[in-house]
Amino acid sequence: MIAIIGLVVGVVLGLFLTPDVPLSLEPYLPIAVVAALDAVFGAFRAFLDGIFDDKVFVISFISNVLIAAMIVFLGDKLGVGAQLSTGVVVVLGIRIFSNVAAIRRHIFHA
């Protein structure tokens, strides 16, 4: 319940504040969003599995975002930023798909 309220508040804030993203952070934002999405789906799956722990969620959320950003940063420094961010997105996408499959099994029993 509170989580849904937080989601709505975040969307509304984003829509109304229209924050300016610093240029140096711009390449990392999409990757960070995808990483956080992965953490949220993983947490939801853990919740349905009965092994949810809020500390684990906070740590996984933050570390996911930081590691994704770091990989992209490293890729930019190595000159393969575009390819590496594609790779990160693919890996996170696969994880999101498998988490959503588990959640679906819980909710729809299918």
Binding site: M1, I2, L7, G10, L13, V33, D49, G79, H106
Partner: protein
């Protein structure tokens, strides 16, 4: 509850966990806890970032978010396109210049041809002509003027460089003009002309009048035939009679000469 496809999704969940998962979801929906507050904050942050990124990606139609390599690629593409456009421009300009010069040549040829038509038209008598010249009035009250003398007069005019001649405003005298005797006067190109004969001649007035008035020339001949000649110089003589050109029946033009 293994109604799902066991091939693609291996059944790894025991029934009690599954049931309790859904029940926990239902229960926690109405029972807030500290963990839920933490989750709410992080999910809010995620939503905020996602919305920002969506807005950014939607507005990002320039090259602002591109990496160095992508910018170089885009630049290369633009350079190739501009090189190609420049090549096209020079090709088209060449074509335009060619067309322009060919048009110019054609216009010049046309002008030359028109000038030639004018010149030949005056000579062949197909166009009216006007210019300085003389008006010769040959009085022949007794109708005794010899045709040969009249013809001599025309010949003298021709020798003096006359450019257009007409007689009595009725007959244009050209290269093919014929002169015959007639009881009433002379027959020029089949047209009977009666005296007095008024000859309009375009050319250098002094030369023309001199050609008719020398000793034993045309004027003296006419006076021998008991006639008289009046010559009047004018700045503007109009030769208005024209002839329709007759295509030659036997002679053929030799092309290329």
């Amino acid at each position: 509850m293994s109604t799902g496809d066991p091939d693609t999704e291996p059944a790894e969940r025991p029934d009690p966990v599954e049931r309790s998962g859904m029940q926990r979801l239902r229960r926690s929906f109405f029972a807030p806890s500290r963990g839920q507050a933490v989750v709410a904050v992080l999910v809010g942050v995620l939503a905020f970032a996602a919305v920002t990124q969506v807005r950014l990606a939607g507005a990002d139609d320039t090259y602002a978010g591109l990496r160095e390599a992508e910018l170089i690629q885009a630049l290369n593409g633009l350079q190739a396109a501009s090189r190609k456009a420049e090549r096209d421009i020079s090709d088209l300009e060449e074509t335009r210049d060619q067309l322009r010069s060919s048009t110019q040549r054609r216009t010049t040829a046309l002008e030359q041809a028109q000038q030639e038509v004018q010149t030949l038209g005056v000579l062949a008598g197909t166009v009216p002509a006007s210019g300085p010249g003389i008006r010769i009035t040959v009085n022949d009250p007794e109708n005794q003027l010899s045709l040969n003398h009249l013809l001599d007069g025309i010949e003298e005019l021709r020798n003096a460089g006359v450019e257009a001649v007409e007689i009595n405003d009725r007959v244009r005298v050209i290269a093919q003009t014929s002169f015959e005797e007639d009881p009433e006067g002379v027959r020029v190109d089949g047209v009977v002309l009666k005296p007095p004969y008024i000859i309009d001649a375009i050319g250098n007035a002094d030369t023309l009048s001199g050609a008719l008035q020398f000793q034993d020339g045309f004027a003296d001949d006419v006076e021998l035939d008991s006639g008289s000649v009046e010559i009047k110089k004018a700045d503007r003589i109009d030769v208005t009679v024209t002839r329709t050109p007759v295509p030659p029946r036997y002679a053929e033009a030799v092309p290329g000469q």
